[in-house]
């Protein structure tokens, strides 16, 4: 579904991604790990079309479409979802209004009529249960005054509402206590099907105990320098990143 070839990207003239390659197929979970500053969040930003980043070289295709040609909203409607590392607070925009607008935009893209009020409420209720989200949160403004854990749950709730083909979870585990982590991971696992895929960006192996990856990649200095199965994550947990840095820099 997703094919990234030799991707280079800059922010403010500084090159962050320096030739990244990655292939993701339906049904797969890919974990991307790596030290601070390796370019993990940049990858998420570039995939979703954040204009702060310039792609200077390379290709990204998503189900055969040139992703780099699409606006952020069209990428979303094509089925790419980002669970933000830092979800944004939007005072004055209610969760309900926000979600209904988003759902209907997705439907419009697929030439479907807007969702009926009853269907929408049913969908909200169903998906809220998935992440055990408090009813009250849905009536508030988007992320406003939410705790760190509530914000992350809200991300997974939105993911459930929009049913993406590819979800990118950017440090979804950061700032979560163990119970919240379990709830969030459970949500992600329940949404898993043979047709969708996930890219899980994380610092620590901890999240991967709950969301078990098919592949683990190490991102270092703007490139994927090592790939393996889920055991690679355990090895990284045990040995840190220094040995990989040495391997790469030593070459």
């Amino acid at each position: 579904m997703l094919e990234i070839k030799d991707l280079h990207a800059n922010i403010n003239g500084k090159e962050i991604l320096k030739g990244l390659n990655l292939v993701v197929r339906p049904g797969e979970i890919h974990a991307i790990m790596g030290p601070n500053g390796a370019g993990k969040s940049t990858l998420a930003s570039v995939l979703t079309g954040n204009q702060a980043f310039d792609v200077t070289h390379g290709e990204i295709s998503f189900y055969g479409k040139d992703l780099l040609e699409l606006s952020p909203e069209d990428r979303s409607r094509e089925g790419i979802f980002l669970s933000f590392q830092y979800p944004v607070e939007i005072p004055g925009v209610s969760m309900v209004n926000f979600m209904r607008t988003a759902v209907n935009e997705h439907r419009k893209y697929k030439n479907l009529d807007p969702i009926s009020a009853t269907d929408f409420l049913r969908l909200m209720r169903e998906k809220k249960e998935l992440v055990e989200m408090d009813n009250k949160l849905a009536n508030r403004s988007v992320n406003e005054g939410f705790s760190g854990g509530e914000k992350k749950r809200n991300e997974i709730f939105q993911m459930a509402m929009l049913d993406p083909r590819l979800s990118i979870l950017d440090e979804t585990d950061s700032g979560l206590d163990i119970d919240a982590l379990r709830i969030v991971a459970n949500g992600v696992n329940k949404l898993k099907t043979a047709d969708n895929a996930s890219i899980v960006i994380t610092h620590y192996q901890r999240l991967l105990d709950y969301i078990v990856p098919d592949f683990v990649h190490v991102l270092y200095d703007g490139r994927i320098v090592k790939s393996g199965g889920k055991e690679l994550a355990l090895e990284l947990e045990e040995r840190g990143y220094d040995w990989i840095k040495q391997e790469v820099d030593g070459k």
Partner: protein, 459 residues
Amino acid sequence: MLASCCLPLTAKIMEQQYINLYKQYHEQIKANAAQVINVSRDASFELFEKLGFPTSNDENYKYSDLKDALSADYGLNINRLPIPVNPYEVFSCDVPGIHSYLFFVVNDGFYPVNDVRNQQLPEGVIIGSLSEVAKSHPELVQQYYGKLSSAKKDGLIAFNGAFAQDGFFMYVPKNVQLDRPVQLVNIMRSDVDFMANSHNLVILEEGAKAQLLVCDHTVDDVHFLSNRVTEVFVAQNATYEHYKLENTHIKTTNLSTLLIDQQTSSNVLANVITLHNGVTRNNIEIDVDGEHCETLLCGMVIGDKKQQVDNFTSIIHNKPNCNSRELFKYVLDDLSKGGFTGKLYVARDAQKTAAFQTNRNILLNKTAKMRTKPQLEIYADDVKCSHGATVGQLDESAMFYMRQRGIPEKEARLLLMYAFTGDIIDNIRIDALQERIKMLVEKRLRGELSKCEGCIICQ
């Protein structure tokens, strides 16, 4: 000698023309107005002759550029010729479910009431033409007319005092509470460029309660200038809500002065909304002259094209133990210009005053301009006062967040702007009106009202 040395030549010539006009026709002006409102007319004229029209050199008019507006040659209707329009037929107000008592001022004159809905006013309540009531109840008008306005050293207010002959009058006696909002629609209707000066008087006696919705509209596509002064007296324990909605056109100059006096334990809400206009100056001054008063003053502006809106506000705390809150928000696009002044005065004896002021502005375009000035003068030492003003753009990170969820850029901008104005709309305590304003604001932000040349609330 004219004080207004800095008006451009044409405006200066016009100013002199009005002065000559008054000198020549003041007998006619007086003959067509009630005795009690003629009493202070000459004094107002002399003050105007001294002050002239305000210019941006006047501290309080720094953000109002009235040069062009005051250079046009407007007609006046000093002989009170009736305007051939029946607003009750032309405008069927359709704010769904507002059930207001509906009144019209067409240009500068109160339009005779002939609407059955207005016959159900509670006993003792008087609503009508200032000029008529000044004849039928001279003692009532005399007691209040000009009591707030004649003390002001302001060229526009003085001009109004010299030329105004009529306006809207409302009197709510002791402990009478109006069950429905009163709606005053100011309509400008003329085939030639036209100026209207009207003077409104609103009196709430002890324990009275009323809501007034003032809508400013224009009908014809000519240049209009309105210079209206409204004096409001809110007695002890009375509750008054004043909503002003302007939805006029780009050729309109709307100069509006709202003066409110609050007595002990009274409660006032004023919400001034400018949706569409040409050049607007709102002068809102609230004097808190009793203890334990509550004052909420808020407003919003949506501006684009070359629209100009200057809200000059003043809250004067003369007595202790009162709370006031002020909140103004502007969304400006294109070449529009906004101005805000928040004067807050706390007298030495006004201890335990709590006064908070906020002005927040969004500029959608680099060409739009906003100038904002808090002006706090606090002479008491045991008070809680704060002020804050911000000028910024829409939150880019929020925009991206929404777009990542599939919401198109245009819609995301709209949601953010709409959200920004939300707390002003929340301060409309007439449900039907709140719903309608929500809709109008959304339409306006979508650009669907930009061609509006007439009344959209009543048509």
